[in-house]
């Protein structure tokens, strides 16, 4: 029984890692008022980039760098549409997601040879000898480096948001862009920065999904709604990087649990088990949403000409 629990917790941390990474960028974007709903699709690009670069260039470092570049580019596109062109953020995000789904599937079909062998995944941070320490070994020391990064990032993100000038600017822009503009900030520039960041972290999250976990890419939307779950986590977590991280962890745990139930020959059909994280999301939203303070201009277009 203990073994099952340790195995489950270990998986929970690993499954939560991509969510955590994606949530960092999304919290910033939403804090500045922009809902980047395209993170689901951008994750797909990150996932594919990780596998493709890992396969052809045999370099994890290059995989990460190229993932960041692709994420930044996609973030820039979303920023241009939603911030400069002031398109509806929800519709734009949906379209970006559909386009990314099609594009990644099409690109992947051209790279079918990547399926032939497993790509090298992120290594564990601690030496093999430590993996055998009871409980702590499997739970922490055997985790890939990406998991460690994912769990440290929210604290850094929280520090930046609350304790730096840039973080203050982001919070001000999302809550009252007119006041921020009259105080001399460039609202547009800050929104671009946060949305590009959300693209980068979404792509990195996708990269971690493939390169830390499964080691392959699968067509047909392998992000499986994780981007949307992150959006829900932002709401439930009250747009606070650390609280949002905890929510992501809970979703990761639910995801890991349902996978375990599936293989445990449960009488419940697996389709229902797969619904579990999403149902938890809905329930959490319904219970918690009232308590969080929404960024005042969340999802609203900002026209600098409005006085």
């Amino acid at each position: 029984m203990v073994e099952i629990i340790i195995d489950w917790l270990q998986a929970a941390l690993r499954w939560a890692a991509p969510l955590l990474i994606v949530s960092i960028g999304e919290v910033y974007a939403e804090r500045s008022g922009v809902i980047n709903m395209g993170i689901e699709g951008i994750m797909l690009f990150g996932a594919l980039a990780g596998i493709a670069v890992g396969f052809y260039m045999k370099s994890l470092l290059m995989a990460v760098i190229i993932t960041i570049l692709i994420g930044a580019l996609l973030g820039l596109i979303v920023a241009f549409l939603t911030v400069s062109r002031r398109t509806n953020q929800v519709v734009t995000g949906l379209m970006v997601n559909m386009a990314c789904l099609g594009a990644t599937d099409a690109l992947f079909s051209l790279m079918s040879e990547t399926r032939q062998s497993r790509v090298a995944t992120f290594p564990a941070l601690f030496p093999q000898s430590m993996h055998n320490i009871p409980v702590l070994g499997p739970l922490f020391f055997s985790q890939p480096v990406s998991t460690w990064v994912a769990f440290i990032l929210p604290f850094i993100a929280g520090f930046i948001l609350y304790k730096t000038r840039w973080g203050l600017n982001v919070r001000a822009v999302g809550d009252n862009p007119k006041a921020a503009a009259t105080a001399g900030l460039s609202v547009i520039k800050i929104k671009y920065q946060t949305v590009v960041l959300s693209g980068i972290f979404a792509a990195l999250g996708g990269c971690v999904l493939t390169l830390a976990e499964v080691g392959y890419f699968s067509a047909g939307g392998m992000a499986a709604g994780r981007g949307f779950i992150v959006m829900a986590a932002c709401v439930v977590g009250g747009w606070d990087p650390i609280r949002t991280a905890f929510i992501c962890l809970a979703f990761g745990a639910a995801d890991a649990a349902q996978l375990r139930f599936q293989t445990a020959n449960s009488v419940i059909p697996y389709q229902f088990l797969q619904m579990l994280p999403y149902i938890i999301t809905i329930v959490a939203l319904a219970i918690m949403v009232k308590r969080s303070i929404v960024p005042k201009t969340w999802g609203a277009a900002y026209d600098p000409k409005d006085v």
Binding site: K163, T164, R165, W166, G167, L168, N169, R171, A172, D175, N176, K178, A179, A180, A181, T182, A183, G184, L185, I293, K296, V307
Partner: protein
């Protein structure tokens, strides 16, 4: 070259909005260490002029001189850099952030890491210097409005402004806070900084300013030294145009039963400040009760409470004995001409015909089993256009394309044609030319003679006096008195509007 005495000179400023000259070659100047009042009615162009100074609107003509040097100001950042501080009527604070975070927002600093301690220290020094105390760590939305204004002023002082502009600063302040503000302004000018106060409250301008510049309809009327000014003189300059409205005969009405009864009504404004304080009012059938008072003394809240758009915090309102909430949607009970016809009264991008039925669209003959009957709707609209003399090519024209007077006729036709027992007209003549004004007056008088109870709210005293059977003066959410419209004296009402008890009871 002699030393330049002027902190600010704005010369020959013209601002044109589509169809309106908001500022028509206006010039003002403000000496160092001086308090300049900028006086004018709503829409006179005071705020527009200050927004030009703050780089929010471009001016089509004119130039701005600061300390004798011509400057170009294209954005608020540039205005701040030139030492201009502005406290807008609607505060520009991020209310989820703390006071100190708001104060330092946008000030560039080489360090990325926030170090609030030195900033707090400086802010507290400023608090002490100007006797405007706020807690730097308090979150702004938790502060009362008065304190929020201190934050705005301190924010400008923290940026070392040379000219501080206050737009209607006392509108949100209690009398004690207003005194505190006056005190702070004295401290500010003692340091050689200049203050410009935008207001239409005569008394406070006389109390605090050195000179007053009067604007009217976007034009510069004149500047006078405050020591030579009286409230009457300033009022004459501010209103200016000869508003000679004849009082028409008010035939006595046979059966004056009470229609609108308000008992101990309390309400708060959008900021949560008490706007109506235990207000009592009865309006009878066949009478026009005029509500006089300087704008912003609870008139809006009064109208909104009766029309159900604002919840009262206590008290009761009945129309013909029925609680107001049950009958407001019934066109035969309440006709409401709202203060802002474009926002509240009309759907600007609907046709005249559609606007005529927005209260009634689900009833026969305009609808039959959920399907609108456009033949009937259009016929009705054509009747209304004829009856109320709306100038339009046809009933399909979007209301947006009508003139203000004709837009008001559409509202009046919709609201008053069903012959409601109670008419509320909130500033029904605002922005209309004299012809349209007398047209509205005739309609309201006709309503009264038909037997409707009419509540007429206006900031134009002449108008209230010409039209009302009784006049209630509203000051700071309270009734200052109830006067007979035939015999009321303008001087007395004027005093009551300023919050003074009348020396002679009318």
């Amino acid at each position: 070259m002699e030393e330049n005495n002027y902190a600010l000179q704005m010369q020959d400023i013209t601002v044109e909005f589509p169809g309106v000259l908001a500022n028509d070659h206006v010039s003002i100047d403000c000496k160092k260490g001086e308090v300049l009042g900028l006086l004018g009615e709503n829409g006179a162009g005071k705020t527009t002029l200050m927004n030009v100074l703050y780089g929010l609107y471009p001016a089509t003509t004119g130039r701005i001189l600061l300390d004798g040097q011509e400057v170009k100001i294209n954005a608020p950042t540039e205005a701040i850099a030139h030492g201009i501080g502005m406290v807008h009527q609607h505060f520009k604070l991020v209310d989820t952030l703390s006071v100190i975070e708001n104060v330092i927002l946008g000030i560039s600093d080489k360090k990325q890491k926030l170090d609030l301690e030195p900033a707090k220290k400086r802010l507290l020094e400023l608090c002490k210097e100007y006797e405007l105390y706020v807690d730097p760590d308090e979150i702004v939305w938790k502060l009362p409005v008065g304190k929020q204004q201190w934050v705005e002023i301190l924010k400008a002082l923290y940026r070392d402004c040379k000219v501080l502009v206050l737009d209607e600063p006392t509108a949100v302040l209690t009398p004690a806070e207003s005194d505190q503000l006056c005190n702070a302004i004295r401290h500010i000018t003692a340091k050689g900084r200049s203050v410009i106060i935008i207001s239409h409250k005569l008394r406070e301008l006389i109390e605090i300013t050195n000179r007053v510049t009067v604007l009217r309809d976007g034009k510069f009327i004149g500047t006078i030294d405050t020591k030579d000014a009286t409230e009457l003189k300033l009022a004459a300059m501010m209103v200016g145009r000869p508003v000679s409205i004849e009082r028409k005969a008010h035939p006595p009405f046979e059966n004056p039963e009470p229609i609108l009864v308000m008992k101990d009504v309390c309400a708060v404004d959008d900021r949560g400040v008490p706007a109506l304080k235990n207000f009592n009012l009865v309006v009878h059938a066949g009478e026009i009760v005029g509500i006089a008072g300087v704008d912003g003394n609870g008139q809006r809240e009064l109208a909104e409470c009766i029309s159900g758009m604002r919840k009262m915090t206590s008290g009761s309102i009945t129309i013909k004995g029925k609680p107001v909430t049950g009958v407001i949607a019934d066109p035969s009970f309440l006709g409401f001409i709202p203060e802002d016809r474009q926002k509240t009264g009309l759907v600007m991008d609907f046709s005249i015909a559609d606007n005529m039925i927005v209260k009634d669209y689900y009833n026969e003959p305009f609808a039959h089993k959920h399907v609108l009957r456009y033949k009937e709707i259009k016929r009705h609209a054509r009747d209304m256009i004829k009856k109320y003399h709306v100038k339009t090519p046809n009933e399909d024209v979007h209301v947006r394309n009508l003139s203000g007077g004709n837009q008001q006729k559409v509202v009046i036709a919709r609201e008053l044609d069903p012959e409601p027992v109670l008419d509320i007209a909130a500033h029904p003549t605002r922005g209309l030319d004299l012809g349209a004004v007398s047209n509205v007056h005739d309609i309201l008088l006709k309503e009264r003679n038909r037997g409707a109870a009419v509540l007429f709210i206006s900031a134009e005293l002449q108008e209230v006096m010409a039209l009302s059977d009784r006049i209630v003066v509203l000051y700071s959410g309270e009734s200052m008195g109830d006067l007979n419209g035939e015999t009321a004296d303008q001087q007395v009402i004027g005093q009551m509007m300023l919050g003074q008890s009348p020396e002679v009871q009318a």
